[in-house]
């Protein structure tokens, strides 16, 4: 069917902005995506028409707001094909989802000396929560290495399993290189050792269709703000059998059944993990983002972004002095690079002045930077509202910047 890109661009008001008098070229989509008008309106509409604390009141507005909130839980469950709505927990974002798991799963299932397997390409948010657990419980963290092409070394990964392995936590897609990990194989392998798997889907959920049943992952986590929804909303999908065994993460309202000073009983799933008033306005707007994505069809989005990526790779390779970091055969629309001997900060600063929004630095993945022996990269990450024309402009800009910094 194909996508009408001009029509899509018109749905995102921010794309018409100018920076330093130049048209904005937004290539920082792996950090956060822009929001379509329908999402912006959906959040504003909550405050305009139905704002009321959910799951509490007997009054009309509270009921309407609660129903809208729970409707999104059903939509999310459908979007990733979860077994039931109760397996969808709303959090603040991917980071909180992983912290919840490292705490609630970690406290319950880990003993001193037990092991978690991560990879060298994890975002800090899938490293540090495990290091905190390491401090609390004396667990071991084992790291699966990355090849020179930026792919996961599967042979080395398989050798990390032992009788003490309690969980594997791995990113679906690298936020630095766009590498798509073979998560099906990872999950199959882990399950052959009876080890559950967490998939960090922050970089995947808006690029390709995700089916948690087909993947058979035990947990899948992602953020709303990277999938065209508001910031401050995240998802933790977990298989019911695991979630039921885990202790609550935070205490407060909503997550309780009955509270007394002699002891408190906890609410059922999913509320057991949703202490306090959630970001219901953000969740309701996430529903609008899901509708938007569905209306565009994720397969069409994938085809378009992939084509854009291939075009960009061709253009980038022609830039004198360019060094691409990570060239995995399976990847999404993320390109990390260095320009000659120039520091990424310099490249990013000059590109900024030419109207380009890119990310520079270590991308919260310092172990991966260490792996490649570099201080950081410049990262261009594309979304379905980006165009070939914008990539042409980037390649011209890079030639100019390269000359200046040469």
């Amino acid at each position: 069917m194909g996508l009408n890109i001009q029509e899509i661009r018109n749905d995102f008001p921010i794309l018409a902005e100018k920076v330093y008098g130049k048209p904005l070229v937004y290539f920082d989509n792996a950090a956060t995506t822009q929001k379509p008008l329908s999402v912006i309106e959906a959040e504003a509409d909550v405050y305009r028409r139905v704002n009321s604390n959910i799951h509490r009141g007997v009054h009309h507005l509270s009921n309407v707001c609660t129903e809208a909130f729970e409707e999104v839980r059903r939509k999310v469950a459908g979007f990733i094909n979860a077994g039931s709505n109760e397996e969808i927990i709303f959090t603040k974002g991917t980071t909180e989802s992983i912290n919840l798991l490292a705490t609630s799963f970690g406290e319950h299932f880990f003993s001193e000396g037990d092991e978690v397997i991560l990879t060298e390409m994890e975002h800090h948010s899938n490293i540090v929560p495990w290091q905190l657990l390491q401090k609390r419980k004396g667990i071991h963290i084992k790291i699966a290495p990355v090849t020179d092409d930026g792919e996961l070394d599967m042979d080395a990964f398989e050798k990390l399993f032992s009788g003490k392995t309690k969980i594997v936590s791995v990113t679906h897609i690298s936020n630095v290189m766009g590498t798509i990990n073979p998560v099906e194989k990872i999950i199959e392998k882990a399950h052959s050792f009876d080890v559950p798997v967490i998939i960090d889907g922050a970089q995947a959920i808006h690029h390709l269709p995700v089916d948690v049943k087909q993947l058979d992952c035990d947990f899948y986590v992602f953020s709303g703000h990277k999938m065209y929804a508001p910031t401050g909303v995240g998802i933790l999908y977990g298989k019911r059998e695991w979630l039921e065994k885990m202790e609550p993460y935070q205490g407060g309202g909503e997550m309780i059944d009955r509270v007394s000073f002699s002891g408190t009983t906890f609410n059922e799933l999913p509320y057991k993990f949703e202490a306090g008033t959630p970001n219901f306005a953000g969740v309701i707007a996430l529903g609008a983002a899901l509708e938007y994505l569905k209306s565009k069809n994720l397969n069409d989005i994938w085809d378009y972004e992939h084509d854009l990526f291939e075009y960009a790779m061709e253009k980038m390779k022609a830039v004198p002095g360019i060094r691409l970091i990570g060239q995995a055969s399976d990847h999404t629309s993320v390109i990390s690079f260095l320009l000659g001997k120039a520091h990424p900060f310099d490249v990013g600063t000059l590109l900024d002045k030419l109207g380009f929004a890119l990310r520079t630095g270590h991308h919260c993945a310092q172990p991966l930077m260490d792996r490649f022996g570099i201080p950081g990269t410049v990262r261009a990450s594309f979304a379905f509202y980006n165009t070939r024309d914008e990539i042409d402009r980037l390649s011209e800009a890079l030639n100019r910047v390269g000359t200046m910094l040469g």
């Binding site: 330093y20 120039a342 520091h343 990424p344 900060f345 310099d346 600063t349 000059l350 002045k353 030419l354 520079t360 630095g361 201080p375 950081g376 100019r400 200046m404 910094l405």
Partner: protein, 140 residues
Amino acid sequence: MTINEKQDEIIEEFSAFDDWMDKYSLLIEMGNELDSFDEVHRKEQNLIEGCQSKVWLHAELNDGKMEFQGDSDAIIVKGIVALLLRVLSGHTPDEILDADLYFIDKIGLKEHLSPTRSNGLVAMIKQIKAYALAFKVKQN
């Protein structure tokens, strides 16, 4: 020349350009022309680590006046380091402590001194002032 006279001179030099790229070209040129950093001073205690780029700063007091050496791994940051050293080197600790560095804002580079910029420059200016204070205390 006083600190403010030097600042005004820099503002004058940059006023010739209204295009960002021209301003940055000049800054890069200044970074390239900065006196080379004496390798004996490239040690941990002289390193100011920003989230993205690093700055090295060495200070000494000669005849009551402060002399600085600086460096950065990013050339734009190095250009700004060059400007700061040009303005502040050769002045007394008191003059440096009292200095109001308005030229950065006037030449349009204020963003680089925002604490969120994580390039080490904010920490560098704090460090320069801390050195000035330390030398002043020592002198007295």
